[in-house]
């Protein structure tokens, strides 16, 4: 078992546990693509907020390749994939309660998104 030594602490505190990985994986989407969020209801870990499931949005940015939490949390490997920022209109998420000019930006892994075209 590894041990944390005093000299390691400043580095650990400064860097945390980066989930970004240096693996070449092809992105499924690019900025400007219209996407729909999958209706995921698994008991296993995921980082998909309930309020965007089934909603349509637009990819605005590709952050690169990251470890996939759904598998990583269960010792099923990193399943590295792209993470994007997706923008939703408040009306898409909250219906008439959403302000017509508000937008919500949510980061989402590749496996959470399907093409809306």
């Amino acid at each position: 078992m590894n041990m944390l030594t005093t000299d390691m602490v400043p580095t650990v505190l400064a860097t945390g546990d980066p989930a970004r990985v240096d693996v070449n994986v092809a992105p499924k989407f690019k900025a400007g693509d219209r996407v729909t969020v999958v209706n995921l209801n698994q008991v296993a870990h995921n980082r998909l907020p309930a309020y965007i499931r089934g909603k349509a949005g637009t990819v605005t940015f590709d952050h690169g390749v990251f470890v996939f939490p759904d598998t990583s949390a269960h010792r099923q490997g990193p399943k590295p994939q792209h993470v994007y920022t997706v923008v939703f209109t408040a009306r898409e998420l909250w219906g008439e309660a959403g302000h017509p000019q508000d937008r919500m930006y949510v980061d989402a892994w590749d496996d959470y998104l399907e093409s809306a075209d």
């Binding site: 078992m1 590894n2 041990m3 944390l4 390691m8 602490v9 650990v12 505190l13 945390g16 546990d17 989930a19 209801n41 698994q42 008991v43 296993a44 870990h45 995921n46 907020p49 309930a50 309020y51 470890v67 939490p69 990583s72 949390a73 269960h74 010792r75 998420l93 909250w94």
Partner: protein
């Protein structure tokens, strides 16, 4: 997991309260909790996702009533149990011992 942690869009929690000049820790034990979290991480007991998942699985009543670092305690305990380092019985016995000391 459709757990209690996913409160986005829920009504009734009131405004987010921002504390002025917020200290790093409100209690001394919270600093020790941070140390334990990092030590167990460095020991390879969990990654960030394995750290998060037991917090989602907390009893919903406990989740809503517990502080940030109490949630950390719950997941460090659960991960150490899952790794075979301590047993649930040992953790519960220690809790009982500490509560007894507090009452005395």
């Amino acid at each position: 997991m459709n757990g209690i942690h996913d409160v986005g869009g829920k009504h009734g929690f009131g405004p987010v309260l921002v504390e002025q000049n917020e200290p790093y820790f409100h209690e001394e034990w919270e600093g020790r909790m941070l140390s334990m979290m990092i030590a167990c991480f460095a020991a390879g007991i969990y990654n960030v996702d394995q750290f998060r998942h037991p917090i989602e699985k907390m009893d919903p009543r406990h989740y809503l009533m517990s502080s940030y670092y109490e949630k950390w305690l719950c997941t460090v305990e659960q991960n150490c149990i899952d790794a075979g380092i301590v047993t649930r019985e040992e953790v519960d016995a220690r809790h009982a011992q500490l509560m007894k000391g507090k009452a005395a």
